[in-house]
Subunit: 360 residues, 2 copies
């Protein structure tokens, strides 16, 4: 920006626009910050990687370049699963990932990404911002020298791509399915065989029969991976990830060294990015679903109620066991479950009842 | 902030935190902006007025006070329904309201707040940020010298408080109900008598029988108004306002006079405030519903399917008539309806199917 030109025009416009010019009496130095943001996603990965780019760009733009944030894709600076350590250790000032990746550091992290039959995006944000969730998350990460923030949500995911039709809970027995985390443990107890496998290997594994099924994200990301070419059925709803939250993690020392305005900029940029990702997924998922159904003739099927009931029962047990691991897990579990119990009747009367009424 | 102290500590921390000090070679003037934000709500009104406060505070904090935004409740500077003119004319630099208030200025404004059987909050944000909605909204307000931004959403509202039980569409005949806007026109065509009346008069009108029913917002705001004391039934879902969007409007000249970083700050603050309001309503509505049902023993009832079907049919006709009013209305209607048609199957497989599965 040409500052001289700007001052001139602002001066002329000041009566009309509320601008008032002040001239500082001292020369002051301006600190500049060059931050690195390491991410758990391939660079520019649609929805997740692009959200990291947006977050970095917003911080840089709002600060007028006083903080410039450079984004690194997974493996560019550190591998995906080392984002937490890299930010805690100061290799990078920020990270962009999902909290469930850090269960090896602290089991309770899983409550802040997604739990089976847990909260939708809207409910999760309500719990985090207005239900005490954010305070608990900060408490959980404090010993690691990290500050968490919410930077996005995928919305309700799909149950996944299957080469075996699921007509009853018995059809889950022996099912070899890529499904990590708590959802995988639930499948195991239902008689299936959960497998963890990187995204890049899923297509060929479905094709060869090494996998009977895989979950991934939703139509937007799934269409790009081409799963419709190697799987027969596309099941819903994503009971295991009803509103997966993405996190920005910030090195606490780096954050504390910022002046107040830049701290506010970093946290507000995360909140705005959170709004952005869910909007992007909602818009892109609906377009991609249209292509999958109408162009590629994908068979989209609901999981039968009997199957969902069984998975629901096991899920509550698995999540309760997680709560028993340590005092913080117990405290967070109590908070999120109390919130879920109370928000369920409201979501039933509002979102669910309206969405149903609109389809009548 | 003590700037000298800040520079010292930032300097000390620079190696650890990525900070780099630069000393500018010239003394430069810093423009300061004092903005007024006029609102359509009583000062500090829960959810709406508090969101205006948050928005102002966030802009001021992120800009380090370079823009200070002062919030005015309705009637403090101008009445609620003059917010649009006040910002267009430069009396205030910003406004905080709902776009449907401005249908007298431009009919199509109503598409950007809520339309009967239209989009939920999540879908509305997807349309605005990723479906071309925002661009259309900017185009619509440009001739008025205004820039719109989304600053909040109430989520799905309730159908309202009734002293007459609604068992069939016939029960709508002769119903005297406070319901403004497009929803009111739908009720009129269904045989009812829509009334427009300020919020402050609703309680006594229900009590005296001057009104048979009223819609307002949802449990959080409705509980505070005490409607449960004077109405027998609380109906859902809010078919007429499935995701009411709140707007920030900005005087275009005032906005253009800002340097780029402050422009980014103003718009990003609106996006973050948008995330915040829906979270607040979701958390507070669920708490308030619990109080209404369990403490005040309110009878919460669904509108029968037959009634919803009838209202849905009339709604589509009313909204289509709005589209025929002028070329911009036609263009916006086409965009939002195409988006709705495409997002409905996705919302059915995701939010709706998951919310249902969780209740099994």
């Amino acid at each position: 920006m040409n500052r001289r030109k700007f001052i001139g025009s602002a001066g002329l416009a000041s009566l009309a626009t509320g601008a008032v010019l002040t001239v500082p009496s001292v020369v002051h130095a301006k600190a500049k910050y060059r931050w690195k943001m390491v991410t758990a996603w391939p660079k520019n990965f649609p929805g997740l990687g692009t959200n990291a780019n947006l977050l970095a760009k917003t911080i840089t733009a709002m600060s007028g370049g006083r903080i410039s944030v450079k984004v690194y894709g997974a493996k560019e600076l550190v591998p995906a699963f080392e984002v937490f350590d890299a930010v805690a250790g100061g290799t990078a000032e920020m990270g962009h990932a999902g909290a469930y990746y850090w269960k090896g550091k602290t089991e309770a992290a899983q409550f802040f990404s997604a739990i089976p039959f847990g909260l939708t995006a809207q409910e999760m944000n309500a719990w985090l911002y207005y239900g005490g969730g954010m305070e608990l998350w900060r408490e959980l990460y404090r010993p690691f020298g990290l500050i968490p923030a919410t930077t996005g949500n995928s919305g309700v995911q799909m149950a996944g791509w299957f080469n075996r039709e699921i007509k009853s809970a018995d059809d889950l027995k022996g099912l070899k399915m890529r499904i990590p985390g708590l959802g995988g443990e639930v499948l195991r107890r239902a008689g299936g065989t959960p497998v963890n496998m990187p995204g890049g290997e899923l297509f060929t594994s479905l094709q060869s029969g090494a996998l009977d099924a895989t979950e991934w994200v939703g139509p937007y990301n799934d269409l790009a991976f081409g799963f419709y070419k190697v799987a027969k059925y596309y099941y819903y709803p994503g009971w295991h990830e009803p509103g997966s939250t993405m996190e920005a993690i910030i090195n606490a020392k780096a954050f504390d060294a910022l002046p107040g305005d830049l701290q506010e900029i970093v946290l507000t940029a995360c909140k705005a990015a959170n709004m952005d990702m869910l909007s992007e997924y909602t818009a892109r998922n609906n377009q991609a679903l249209d292509v999958l159904v109408n162009k590629h003739k994908v068979k989209v099927l609901p999981l039968p109620d009997e199957v969902l009931k069984k998975l629901r029962g096991i899920s509550d047990a698995v999540v309760a066991e997680l709560a028993a691991k340590d005092p913080m897990s117990k405290k967070i579990h109590a908070s999120v479950m109390q919130f879920r119990d109370q928000v369920m009747p409201w979501s039933k009367l509002s979102e669910q009842a309206f969405l149903r009424a609109r389809m009548l």
